[in-house]
Symmetry: C2
Subunit: 217 residues, 2 copies
């Protein structure tokens, strides 16, 4: 799977969040990190979109929407007549300085992030793209190390994993990543063994649960 | 009431819709027609906002959002810390080439125009602006003369009338407009007389309806 990450931030180098994501992709392949340049050729940008299987818009939320530079790029590059993106995927990685609790009925912002991002969902629908559940990063600066690690793994899977929302698929991904890292590290091999044992135990439990359900019917 | 109309269209002179609105305001006062310029001073734009009672963003819908030039202007000019717009009003005049029927569950676009414009509603909430019911112009090119006239009156009231959503207020507005035009025209005076008679009749009917309601209680 080829993933195209359209990064839209006025100062990418100074953005802790964007640098965190960029560094988090070291060692992965099959993705293109594509910051929006000051000048671009529309046909070249369209060619990049055509070549991708998954397109990700990655940006900080400015006034409940994309920064103007991403909107300009979309206004320039997207075209119902000139682009066929049917059955590709559109993902969003959105960061905001507000806390998650603000985005709900009764909260400070009153509306959910799903509603805030509706225009992107509608763009996906119009272009016959599959709209992926967005990743929203709330208040990155307040995340502790463990929360950052969780976010990074979620992001790595979002960029590289075809079926990123399936538990089985995530387990297989972890095993693969650990095996790559464990060639010279017996500690990692032990972790993999534990994970595989856990996975076997989980499957046994699932079979038991299914048996209970059948007995009840 | 002072109204500031922020017009955001890449080619205002070539836009039939924008020229229609611009010409429709001839003869009215207390409004500022303010197309977004290629270059602007942020403090001057902020001063314009501070002086207005009603702020209107007027733009064609591009990819379910504002054109990039309006988004850039908002990103530049709006600021929670530098601007106090408390209790002013925010209106939107949005045009789209799609028909109204597309914007509903099961329709081609799946979501309502209220949902499309949510980010502007949220901006209004954040700035403590009163969010006015937007005017949406669907497929302007297909409107017949009568529909155009209805739209124009709705627009004139949106720009100039404090309480534009009240029937009584609209009637008073019509009488005022007609009186201004009728100084040398006996035909218009007859129209005003008919309207005033109708208005008297409507008030009598309303009293009757209220009497029926009381009798039922």
């Amino acid at each position: 799977m080829k993933t195209l990450i359209i990064v839209a931030h006025p100062q990418i180098e100074n953005s802790t969040t964007q640098q965190f994501f960029k560094e988090g992709l070291a060692g992965f392949i099959d993705f293109t990190w594509h910051p929006i340049a000051n000048e671009y050729q529309i046909d070249e940008e369209q060619e990049l979109l055509q070549q991708a299987d998954r397109i990700i818009f990655q940006f900080p939320l400015y006034w409940y929407s994309a920064p103007a530079l991403l909107k300009q790029w979309i206004d320039d590059v997207f075209s119902v007549n000139q682009l066929d993106l049917t059955n590709k995927e559109l993902g969003l990685v959105v960061s905001t300085g507000s806390p998650a609790k603000d985005f709900q009925a009764g909260g400070l912002e009153q509306f959910t992030m799903s509603e805030v991002l509706r225009p992107f969902e509608m763009l996906a629908n119009k272009m016959k793209l599959h709209y992926l559940t967005p990743i929203t990063v709330f208040q990155f600066a307040y995340l502790n190390k463990l929360e950052q690690q969780h976010l990074l793994i979620q992001y790595q899977q979002y960029v590289t994993l075809t079926n990123f929302d399936s538990f089985d698929s995530k387990i297989a991904w972890f095993n693969e990543i650990l095996k790559q890292k464990s060639t010279d590290n017996s500690e990692l091999e032990q972790i993999i063994t534990v994970l595989e044992d856990n996975e076997d135990a989980r499957h046994d439990l699932l079979m038991d649960v299914n048996q209970f359900k059948q007995d009840e019917d």
